[in-house]
Amino acid sequence: MNRTPNRRTLLKLAGAAGAGAALASLAGARAAFAQDKNELVIAYNVNLPSWDPTVGPSAVNPTIQGFYQSVFDMFIHQNPDLSFAPGLVTEWGWNDDRSKIFLVVRDGVTWHDGSPFTAEDVAWSLERAGKAETGNPIQFVWSKVGNFKVDGNRVEADVLAFEPTIFKWMSFLTGYVLPKAYYEKVGAEGFEAKPIGTGPYMVEKYERNAFVQLKANPNYWGGKPDFETVTIKFVTDAASRVAEVESGNADVTLEIPYEEYDRLVGGGLKGNCETISDIAMIFLNDIDPMLDKNVRLAAHHSIDKQLLVDRLLRGYGVPISTLETPEYTAYDPGIKVAYDAELAAKLLADSGFSADKPVKFKIQTTRGFKPKDYEMIQAIVGMWRKVGIEAEIEVYEIAQHYELRAADKLAPAAFYNWGNSVGDPTTSTGFAMFGPSPHSVWDGQDLIDKIGPLWGEPDETKRIDGWKAVDKYIADEGLVIPLLQYAQPIVHRDGITVTPHKSGALLPHLIKRA
């Protein structure tokens, strides 16, 4: 039989070969740019919109702080367990009558352009942060000190209004030291185009909405980082992040569904899923029917938080009874609001409600903003139904939540997550529950009177004890429903170690070769 190929067969073969070659060529492109050993590739869950860590919405976005802390240093360093440590500022404190603060600045530090870091930079950064026209969202804190004086490596400033947490803010949102001379030379636009800091990594390349490439700072005061190059890809879709790390395109990723975390870690990748400072909670607004203490307490006692953690979050998370987690300074393990469905039913019965004649209200929640947020509220509504609470779920966007909360127009119950990476009670219980704050929706005068004196309390022990008493009062009165402390899933390839930070920021310089 003659098997000599005819013209048509040859054309088909040529076509197939061409397609194969094209595919192989594109595949080769991928292989050719696979990461080398000295490069760390991170698939990050958020975009970085802007580089100035002290201005605009990005400055108060906790998830973005990991980028900033790679390039810039904060005034005061914060360890992964949220404790404070000497950083660019090595000593800090008040004078005896608390009318002044002082900061001692580290010697021998250089900016990424090689110029020396000085106390002038610290004073200028603080002064700039306190000016309203710069657009620093935390200006209300920084403006409480002024009249800066620099003497060698020591900075002194007058206390214009006493703020007991000012040094904690120096490790928190917008608490970054920026280069005075460089910023004044290049301006805001120039700084955005080529930012420099004193941090462990220098910005090498930045493509908005795509990636940032960082290069190790050889002169970093804390020691040169392990990886010479770090590429952080902005992969905002969770499924794509899973694919990135599973395919080996990325070495590390975070914030993926817990189911995927278990699957990937069970399938050969490494990971950790430890608690961070973020909590899930339900705001209660002081409108009908939440004006009834029995209803509030019943709503709290009827929620089996451990069941939510076990069933919905696959065991990753810790139930909480107050807005303080164990890492926070005002955490009091003695305050417990136990799961007790019988007690909840009894409390409701005292107010004339039952499963047959339920109390009705609306609960608002996000859907997909935090892990299993909507599912959690569905489960809670189911638990409530059993004791005599009929809640209607309304889904809203997180932007709507912010606006409704600021306008004090939240529904009687509203799910939210609260982050507090400095662990101070003012930035958890304080701002969430103090009536005049735009973040609080509970306006009861009794609580305002209890919290009010604590804002300016100079005695630290008395201040923390005061906040513990406030937390106890809130739990007894059922003014809010704290649910659980979140755990953050981080997955990485074998051969590296990742030290998680309790703030939830994934910091490249805490990732090392195993």
Binding site: R30, G56, P57, V60, R208, S247, L404, T426
Partner: protein, 336 residues
Amino acid sequence: MLVLRSLIARLVTTAVTLFGVAVIVFVVIRVVPGNPIAMMLPPGATEADIERLKTLYGLDKSIAEQFAIWLAAVLHGDFGTSISTRQPVLSLVLNRLPATLELSILALLIAVALGLALAVLGTRFRDRKTEAGVDIVNGIGLSVPDFLWGLLLILLFGVLWPVFSISGRVSPRLELPFVSQFYLFESLLRLRFDLTRDLLGHMIMPALALALPLAAIIAQVLKQSLKETVNLDYAVLARTKGYKETRVILAEALPNAVLPTLTLVGVQFTFLIGGTVIIERLFSYEGLGNMAIDAVINRDLPLIQGIVILFAVIFTVVNLAVDMSYALLNPKLRHA
């Protein structure tokens, strides 16, 4: 002359349409709950802080006043400054537009090629099992949405057989010599095929995800047109002259059957560009769609306005181009 008059009329309509879009977008994003100031309030902010931030971003004025200020600035080429990035909106959107256009055009080319191949195949082997196979493929292509194709492609060619890049537009470690944002186009012009290869390695999956549903639509409509055309007199005559069936379809039937498909492609192309919003997000592709989602999440009002206006311009220009090309290709309209 008729075409020119028609063009002028369309340009006037386009200007009115864009103004309408601008008004609607401007009002709607300010009326719906969720404003940018509430998004950036830190713990401890006071009413005074809220007012200060409102003034800083010009949100303390009435919507009508804000619109008048914005429109006056736009007429001078200033679309404002993005709240989240603090960059000029115009340069932000114009920098991202080429990435989206390149992706959309590549997707369109793939869709047309696939759709054409399927339609010709189905017509060539009409009323046989091959046509039934083509119909099944079309049905699958139509019923699976683009984002699901995207996930499927990531699983197949990103994880199980990892031949393509899952995210981004280009490998971060490459040094790009480009002077424009049209990376793919410029890499071809500069004969930098190494960069072309890398760019295509990033674009092929999102482009395919966008293309597959459109390919199915094109195949379905074109096959129907071809099946009608191959029975017309001139096609029968061509067969009588001894032309092979494939030649009859390609040379005789296709030029006449393609007209309704062209209109359809034009309309569907605008939908395809709209589809980039989800697909770009899924593949972390640095285009306009990806930026649009961030803008909405951050309630970046000036950026949302800029992106929507640009999308509106693209849609109207594409529609205009389709109408004009239809008029030029259709002898009845050309000589009317």
